[in-house]
């Protein structure tokens, strides 16, 4: 079933380009908010991680879409990179399967957790 490295690598680079934009946006929101304040990113003002801002962002559907997309591509990009590093250390045949399997499992689990959080916070926020 192994997918060819040609395809995996292409997606890795394309994912990287998407992350460049979306994570850049996230960093702008969280860590460059004093230098370049953008109201839409921190609608409640104050600190980006204040509950008020979390709620305000959660009420925007774009936040949910961006976070789920960013989660997916970043998990793929990061875990493929990690797998690359581990494979280049020349593990034995059995260990290779274990590494790939564990990485896929961790990726899927964290994607589910993160997607649930991005969706569930909307009902928390809209109910608040």
């Amino acid at each position: 079933m192994a997918i060819k490295d040609t395809k995996l690598w292409t997606w890795h680079v394309l994912a990287g380009l998407i992350i460049f934009v979306l994570l850049g946006l996230h960093m702008l929101t969280m860590h460059l908010n004093e230098l370049l304040p953008i109201a839409a990113l921190n609608p409640a003002g104050g600190h980006p991680i204040d509950w008020a801002n979390v709620v305000a962002r959660a009420q925007q559907i774009s936040t949910m879409v961006v976070y789920i997309l960013l989660l997916g591509v970043a998990l793929y990009h990061g875990l493929y990179g990690l797998r690359n590093i581990l494979m280049e250390l020349n593990p034995s045949q059995g260990l290779r399967g274990l590494i790939s399997g564990t990485i896929i499992f961790v990726g899927v689990v964290l994607f589910v957790v993160g997607t649930w959080a991005a969706i569930a916070v909307r009902s928390t926020a809209l109910g608040a």
Binding site: K4, D5, T6, K7, W9, T10, E88, L89, N90
Partner: protein
Amino acid sequence: MSNTAEKTTDVIFRVRRFDPEKDAKPYYEDFTVPCPPGLVVLDGLWYIKEHFDSSLAWRSSCRMGVCGSCGMLLNGKPHLACHTQVREVAGKILMVAPLPNFDIVRDLVPDLAPMLDKHRALKTTVRRADTEEVLDPTDQYWQSPEELTRYLQFAYCIKCGCCMAACPTLATDPVYSGPMPLAQGYRYLTDSRDGSFQERAELLSGAEGPWRCHYAGECSAVCPKGVDPARAIQLMKRELVLDYLKLSKRAKCEPARLVRPEDRSGPREGIPDAPEFTVEGATSPATES
């Protein structure tokens, strides 16, 4: 006339020795070699062999940088010994070691067989469907100067192995093909006479392909012939990705056709005929049919 730049200075050659029949592991041995300006490392090794220790072993042949035999690690960087002046790389001490990422056969002799096996595994010949023509040629294949330029740079490779020694991926990963086989694989992939693009794309789609190159660039930095294997590998990735995304023009190309009579231009106007032969019975290809 004293010109300090012209003086012969003594340089300590710290040479990595290993005799598989006597030693458990390699060790360093020092030799003091008088080095006039312009002395190359290979000459220094010959001096050691002639004056100190005739058992010192290394590979060398042409002594002019074209055969690729004398690749060695000189003060931590892979170079050709015949091509590198001692003063270019060393002050008082010159560390001479065999190329890393290859097993050591003896002293400065690396085992290059795995590199050549990987090279062969990437089918580094022109492959096309008309095998009869290839085996028993009737004429040349047509190729434009632009098509030649696409691969000519990579055809200058002398298989010295310096790029393989410099590659960080090969330091840990034996499956990765390495800069030389991949650069040669690209040389044939992009040769317009080759007709096996899909077969090559398949061969290069796994761990033997270019995907484990992360552009550290050291292969191109150490290449003694300017082959730039790093460029070949990135251009190869481009071709393979474009093919995956169904945007490749190369994949759809027919391999080069035979030269046709109309491709051959005759002599330009105003050029006089060749003079008559002065030797009786002589002929030339031009006068034969």
